[in-house]
Homo-oligomer: 495 residues x 4
């Protein structure tokens, strides 16, 4: 996954990176800093320009000033060197204003880009990478504009697109087909930034570069797999967008399902992007389509001094959009038949956490029954923590040292911060943009993957909407709808 | 293993602990401190006396003074409380002088013990625990003395005996039979202090209280098992004893073979001592008898400013006694057929280490071949470190965080010092003496275990002696006979 | 099991085989024919006499005449040769009458035996094998008589004893201890004739000489193991003995439990009798003690023109002795935890059958779900049929040939009659008596095995008797108490 | 595979089956009889015509007469009924003569077909199935003719094409691309008649509808897989064609490699043709490209009264075309790494045989070593015999019944003839043509499968040709080049 990226950069090529939606929050916080980090780490093309494109009327100096404030160097780089690096990078940063639905605007952009390209070398190869950091409503018009007016004439053109990829199988297909009419599938990079995180990239290494996990990675030994995503924040300020999608579409159907696919998939033939994605599609297709029984939805009410979801000003009154969801996915194949995959995500909870937890079965014929009391020995667990504090933890039962005899779970651990001291873990966006520059698609979602993912969720989403199913309320800042979760887990025999 | 010891002490009983050889080094450094630790930890019998017995003419106060200097409290005990505890303990510590081969002397001892017992309660139960901390030459005469004159009249009598248990199958049988004529097998506790170490006690917990190890604990996944014991010291001062036995008998045939048995044995029916030892005997009986091809012996020469073994004053000139040995043991059963168990031990080496290292096979059909270079991916390993710094380490292959793609082995670790902060790990002797007080034999060697162990080693020991095989020389303080080891490992296909 | 018997016979020895209870039905039908078969097959000692001992006043010629009528040769032996063989065998067959509780009678027997021994060679080795074919009431007195008066003076003395070995743990221990005071354990051969059957002997070969069964011989793949014994006959004529014991003691606690042990045990260290029996004891000790919930008992009523059990003249009125029993045994170890062992046996049923049926789990993630209908694919089964028609059958799912697509179970089969054409399968008694002659104990029950077997059954037997539990009635000649069996199986989740 | 074919036929459709090359041997012996068998078994479309097309100037009656003589009914059909059936079928059989490279001729054919279609129902759906039973030289011209002139106007058009699919990766790609310009991949059915054989169709059932094979279907348990094809015949009469291709291209690269793929592939997501073929491609891509070291070639010389290959009149003098080949293929994935797949095929050998033989590893820690002699226990084997006499055989080690103790391999067997008594096993062509009628492609070769297959063989074929490697000679009617095979197997550690 992304790990075969060749590191070479062709000095005979010139690359324009265009951030469409350059004045937005994501662009500001993540994309430009990631571009700069790639630059300081020598992972950027040798010859390049970075161009912001957005509706706002901003001067280039004002734009540079705004972007500059978020650029940071790795701590190993001395402050003065960092200053020089920033200067050099900003020198190649530009801005073009224009409307997303005006082909003409893209004509202007094209002209601007062409100028930089010509100045470098009119006869060289000119690549263009467009990062779509824009709302879904202007998505296709932007794509049309680029396709019609701003494609590279003699190099590659690649588009990074962000979720939401539609709201269900139907709208997703429409979007895909709309894009497909404008760009070949090879040119489209559907980003799920979770796939760029270090621990997530390590999942395939963990599974396939280690002998010891394969024998325990199946229904004989695994009792359940839990994939959890908890946020402390609510919708402060972006209720409008969120309310239209809800937590299932915003987090579960993409981020959590991607993690499931990486955990559950069969070994690919090779690490090539197509082979890896073939296996991800296969395992998603083995997953049973969710029914209403398989899903629990919740919504936060007031709590901890914060207003409830429906009281938020940006949220429509009486909204039944879930801010919390739990689901049990059944992967009906030889490896996983009978093992529940428990997905859980929510906003306004009591902590921030993203992790995969593989819980193993109890020990059969337990010799230590007398020592381990009524509750029995704790089960082994393998935890892959994505945040906070990336880590791999394997809990095993040990004799607690001492003359008395007690057994307890202790963790064999590998905390990134401690194990890889001094290493700065790159942001997910750095890895992903780098892969696009290299044309490595393994960490991006292929269209059939997207289809398979929507197939799992579409019917239950439609059902919840059609029946106006009321989500269970939980206080903001709590553990979620605890009683309902307990009952839901019991119904699915989750321990 | 020792982990089912009931913790109760009967207040209707009175226990005498007699250390035979009370003035020796081991008694001084290990046995009395262990007794005192059990006392301060409330694991000692409520009513007791501790009596030293040895040849030296010492007054009781002189003896107490000598012993007192090595007694220490756990750090959690305040110094003044510790002082009080010492005082109370020393009050019950006595000394009787006498010859080991004089029955009369044991009569005197018996009279002394009886006095303490009577003073407590003439009608109570009086148990006697004899710790044989004496050279093999006076072993049987001591046993005869105790049996004839100093047995408990109305409680149990138990004998803790230390290696050497003979020099080969024949002499070991003689010793066993000699003891058997005097004491029932139930009364004899053959100690191997390695079995009292925390990490070693944890081996059975690790294997049988965790689900995840069983599927990888066999010939399909394990490439080899190495059991290593390295000492920095040479024979300084005790060359006489050592030269008679050599490293194979002193370390390999007992300590290392016991570790092998615990790693390789099948799950027992229960944790009862007999069931555990049944399985240990079984696996030792599956081990192929060693031939000269399976063993490499070495002897240290001068090095690092230290004289060579044969130049030591306490060593006979021209001695061919090995101070270093390596052996490959083949366990010919369904689980282990084809997996070499590599045992290695030596004195005068470059470090102090005792560990078990289970090396797993390479990953079949390795997807990461291109990334892992000519040498391939590192193999997974599980290391159980006995000393220094008890720990369990599981090395796994990880992606090294960063934009470049590198894989490397990193360790999931569980270091006792860090995981069990503040816990003081009891000395092996504390655990073992406590088990004897409770009559729990699981950590002690049964006579058929001893027979099976000698059966593996006796022919090759006789062969080496009969052919006067010259050990390979290595410099004191070095890694051992490196070239010879390399060739030996290659011959046995050890990687 | 029995398969390591050396085939050599020492011509320097003379062996007397004494059948105590020589006029009984078993002796007549099975024991003497088995002795003769061993003789004709050259598996008998070179120098021997066979002596019948019983209460009846019979002349030797009358005895010979009675025995002769059941002697048969293998079909490969020509009739005239067979006649000669019979003549030679009968020449060495004798009879001594006497009471089982009279030491004097055994003195007479001894004198008779000694005469034959002397006539052969007074200085040779004289072995004596006593076959106890007598009721339990005279068991110990017979043993006393032999021990006191009729032991061999200068060869071995071995006793073959038949069930019943007591009625519960207590009475069995009494019997064992009674025997132990008279004979060493090595001299006692407790016979379970099931262990002598060809297919049963083959069980260990099947399991341990084939690679392919081990990976599927455990809780991951096995759904249940059924061990069934059905007889068409009722108690005609021997109700007295049977009523005292009932079907659980008569069949289940010995024959069926022995089969369970062979199916479920771990691989032994070697094929030596002690190693094999160690493993059998181990697995029996892992079996949970049965409670009333785990057992179902039945009794046949009238049916098919036959009177019901309690109407039989030899049965006490109102007897609640079961003629049918089902039980579920749980083996609580690493291999079998969670797999029910279903034991079922009965008299007066609709057929004659003894078999072991290992039923495997359904296929996870079944690809053929659409093709296999609501009831799903049939499960794989391995059947070891003991009678009638010894065979090994492995049922697998196949595509039925043809253009339509249907799947069905078909059997890979190995029928002894067909596979080993012309081979006459020796009677179980031949194998077992041969093993006694060779001193091979692997097919005989060791005393601790007997204890473990009684430990499983004793509490529930006592409970049934104490509560006067009424067995469920079923018609003679039927399938047994079908409804009750169905409910019992459902309760234990047996499919 | 083919097993999901729906059986329904739409009565609103009319199907023309056109056999191009209708006068050839294959058409005569196999294709028309298969069409007739489908017809009598009610697996043929309700409304149809069958049209032969070839160069020969034949009248329709003459053609009917020629075809009629090979038509046969299943034995369950009474002769008179059979006669009626033949009559009805022949009524719908026609013939059109024309040149394969004349578009005009296909225009004539089209007109003929259209007439039948119109006569049935001009408004109905008219499907056309073209069976290419023609030499490679006229392959593309025929496709062009059909594409240009004879496609169905309002139903489907499907083409069944036979090997050879080129002579190497390059020529195969040319052919594929040529076809791809004329027909969509969906319309092309590349036939390998081996895939239509009952036992071969059963392979997926065997593997995936039975629980017990999965645990033993991997590198831990399998020692080797042999796929063998032996013919008694030489090239009598068709040396011209054969000499151009040789045995590797004629048999090994297609038939044997297809069997390998079915044995070695991972479980597909579903039984859909694309899913099954995805897995076949995957496993072929895991196979290492063959080098000269991995292949042995031979050629028959004179023997048994038959002339040698190069003496055949239809064979060029001095030809080095192999008539025998052996190859070892390594599948480098998690399941098979290290297991050799041994492919062997030849003409002019001592028997006729096609089978797959899975040989399992020896038993580790063999308890029966003493009983099984120096050569050890025989290994378990699973044999899937394709011809003669389709069967599944599982050889296991048994105790041979009797008082002596011998172990030997015996077979659990399932012979089709015996197990499915009375069932007539359909010819492979029936199954395959039926699947084409249903549009089920699972038993046909997809273009990427063909590419992967050629990738394995192309380099070594080129090497053999470039170096003019001389095949090893063996006598006609012998076992092949025995010494060379022995050396070849030894080199590859095949036992």
């Amino acid at each position: 996954m992304g790990i075969l990226s060749s590191e070479s950069h062709n000095s005979e090529e010139y690359t324009s990176v265009i951030v469409v939606g350059a004045t937005g929050d994501l662009a500001h916080r993540k994309i430009f800093p990631a571009l700069f980090a790639l630059y300081t780490e020598n992972h950027f093309p040798k010859n390049f320009q970075v161009v912001g494109f957005a509706r706002s009327n901003l001067s280039i100096p004002d734009f540079k000033f705004k972007i500059a404030e978020k650029l940071e160097c790795r701590s190993k780089i001395a402050p003065d060197v960092c200053g020089l690096e920033k200067g050099r990078f900003l020198k190649k940063l530009f801005y073009v204003a224009g409307s997303y639905d005006s082909e003409e605007a893209f004509g202007v952009l094209d002209e601007f880009l062409a100028k930089g390209e010509r100045d470098w070398n009119p006869a060289g190869v000119h690549n263009r990478l467009f990062y779509f950091s824009i709302p879904p409503s202007v998505f296709l018009s932007t794509a049309r504009g680029i396709s019609a007016r701003a494609r590279s004439k003699n190099g590659w053109t690649r588009c990074i697109v962000e979720k939401p990829f539609g709201k269900d199988r139907h709208s997703s297909d429409e979007l895909s087909q709309g894009m497909a009419r404008l760009f070949a599938e090879e040119a489209i990079y559907r980003i799920d930034h979770y796939l760029g995180k270090e621990v997530v990239q390590n999942l395939m290494v963990l599974r396939f570069a280690n002998l010891i996990f394969e024998p325990i990675w199946n229904r004989s030994t695994v009792q359940s797999v839990s994939i959890t995503f908890k946020e402390e924040l609510g919708v402060e300020g972006r209720g409008g967008y969120f309310d239209e999608y809800g937590i299932v579409r915003d987090v579960m159907q993409n981020h959590l399902l991607q993690l499931l696919a990486l955990i559950a998939m069969e070994p690919p033939v090779s690490l090539d992007a197509e082979d890896v994605r073939d296996e991800k599609v296969k395992v998603l297709r083995c997953a049973a389509v969710l029914t209403a029984d398989d899903v629990l939805v919740g919504q936060y009410g007031p709590g901890n001094g914060t207003v409830g979801y429906t009281e938020d000003k940006t949220v429509p009154k009486g909204s039944i959009t879930p801010t919390f969801a739990a689901a049990v996915i059944r992967v009906r194949n030889r490896r996983w038949d009978g093992v529940p995959f428990y997905l859980m995500c929510g906003k306004g909870l009591d902590g921030r956490l993203a992790e995969i937890r593989i819980r193993f079965n109890p020990v059969p014929g337990n010799l230590f029954a007398d020592l381990s009391g009524v509750s029995g020995l704790p089960n082994n667990e393998l935890v892959i923590r994505v945040q906070p504090g990336e880590a791999i933890l394997l809990s095993i039962v040990n004799k607690i040292p001492g003359l008395s005899t007690k057994l307890d779970n202790k963790e064999l651990d590998l905390e990134y911060k401690q194990t890889f001291k001094g290493a700065e873990i790159p942001d997910a966006y750095e890895r992903l943009i780098l892969d696009v520059l290299h044309g490595d698609k393994s960490l991006f979602i292929r269209s059939d993957e997207l289809e398979a993912a929507w197939d799992i969720f579409t019917p239950v989403l439609h059902y919840l909407e059609a029946t106006k199913a009321q989500p269970v309320t939980y206080p903001f800042g709590s553990k979620g709808p605890e009683e309902a979760v307990k009952a839901f887990r019991a119904k699915h025999h989750l321990k």
